[in-house]
Subunit: 241 residues, 2 copies
DNA sequence: GAGTGGTCTAGACCACCCC
DNA sequence: GGGTGGTCTAGACCACTCT
């Protein structure tokens, strides 16, 4: 792991160990520089990373400050990993409804940028949070990238397996959200009534090299799902009119 | 504006003018370096910014590539500005239901980190997209920061005014989302039925110096609201177990 | 004015991809 | 092995805040 990542971890550890409160100041850059024996740019890169992660904010001429504790029980919408990493303190289980190989529909082929004759793994499962239905999830894996899945893997954290088991390097994802009413079938799986609210999230996951490899559609129960999102103005608003 | 921002804009312009398609390669860093007459780090910073913005992705040992056109008609959940910047091609209008000054509730005081005796501007309005109700929005502005608002401003893009009119520097925001059923009152404003789905989004906006200055609650109609979100693995998954 | 973060440079060296 | 991005350095200079 690179220095700046290591240092970012150390700084997070520092925040935790010193029980910093929201708005409290971190050591200044020169101090961190001395402490870790690296150049200013490296410290800056660590702090930038923590800023993007929502851990700190930097104020020119003033200092770097802790942004505060993350709310518990909320799923972060940033992060390319499933729920398992997000809800550490909660018990997440899965019930697999369908697990098979098949050819893509046109929609899926398009999202995964593959031909109609490409093989896929299809997984449909219900996820439970503390025994209560959280989401109904259908995923399509490009089998030429995710070469192997079995029932056991599919019952647990598929993303952890993809990363640690297969050693694939996750890159970025595109996510589409909209609110709608549950169909009769969906309601049945989630223990709710037809027509009740759901959040539908469609995600295309890409490897580091830009190749899409999973398309997933998730319907979240309105009773359980709370999401969290932190943003900041990386001069984001700049456009070329 | 700094060089790297300027260059980022130039690169976006290049992508547009050359009609790059998804996955097409951009000039390599050395070329960009020469073209703009700056050091490698500066180019890197521009590309990193574009990567975080979801415009490009970089592959070590291979190159930098265009990530593709943004979907139209979706509201990006990143970005600290209201709808007006997001839905350029659409006609956004507002109907102001309430506009007044008042003291905060306990909830609002907490989110804005102020005392119960602090003055606020309260704005409640319905936003329409192409004449159809999109959202019901209630916002609370810390009056000691947002010193002045009037009916005209409140009918348009409040954020544009805050940035350009008042010259305040927007920083970051915390956003909480959940799906729920419309109350009778909400449904009435949005032209829907009680119990139909909504997306409730609560946001706390902060200035660059970390000071919270607006708290807003928005209820989106399920008929209109489509959201979009791009993420990437800035080594995000790193945690200190 | 002193303190502190932000930008930028020139160059060294490393890690990964692809032929 | 050649091409290309990623990390890191040491230091100069700038911009903002705070008192």
């Amino acid at each position: 792991m690179s220095k700046f990542q290591q240092i970012a971890i150390e700084i997070e550890k520092y925040i935790k160990e010193n029980s910093l409160q929201k708005g409290e100041k971190l050591p200044i850059i020169d101090e961190l520089k001395a402490k870790f024996g690296v150049s200013k740019s490296t410290i800056l890169k660590s702090l930038d990373m923590l800023e993007r992660k929502g851990v700190v904010y930097q104020v020119r001429g003033s200092g770097t400050f802790f942004r505060g504790q993350k709310p518990r029980g909320f799923v972060s919408l940033l992060s390319n990993q499933g729920l398992t990493n997000n809800l550490n303190d909660y018990k997440i289980t899965s019930e697999v409804i369908k697990f098979c190989t098949s050819k893509p529909t046109q929609e899926v082929a398009h999202h995964l940028n593959i031909g109609m004759d490409n093989e896929l793994y299809c997984v449909k499962r219900i996820r439970y949070l503390n025994e209560e239905a959280l989401s109904l999830e259908e995923s399509f894996f490009n089998k030429s990238i995710v070469m192997y899945l079995n029932n056991e893997i599919v019952t647990g954290s598929i993303f952890r397996y993809i990363k640690n088991g297969l050693g694939l390097k996750l890159g970025f994802s595109d996510r589409y959200l909209h609110v709608d009413k549950l169909s009769a079938e969906e309601a049945n799986y989630l223990g709710l009534e037809q027509g009740e609210p759901k959040l539908k999230v469609e995600t295309i996951y890409h490897l580091k090299n830009g190749q899409p490899f999973v398309f997933s559609k998730i319907n979240y129960s309105y009773k359980q799902s709370k999401f969290f999102l932190q943003t900041h103005n990386d001069s984001f608003e700049v456009t070329h009119a």
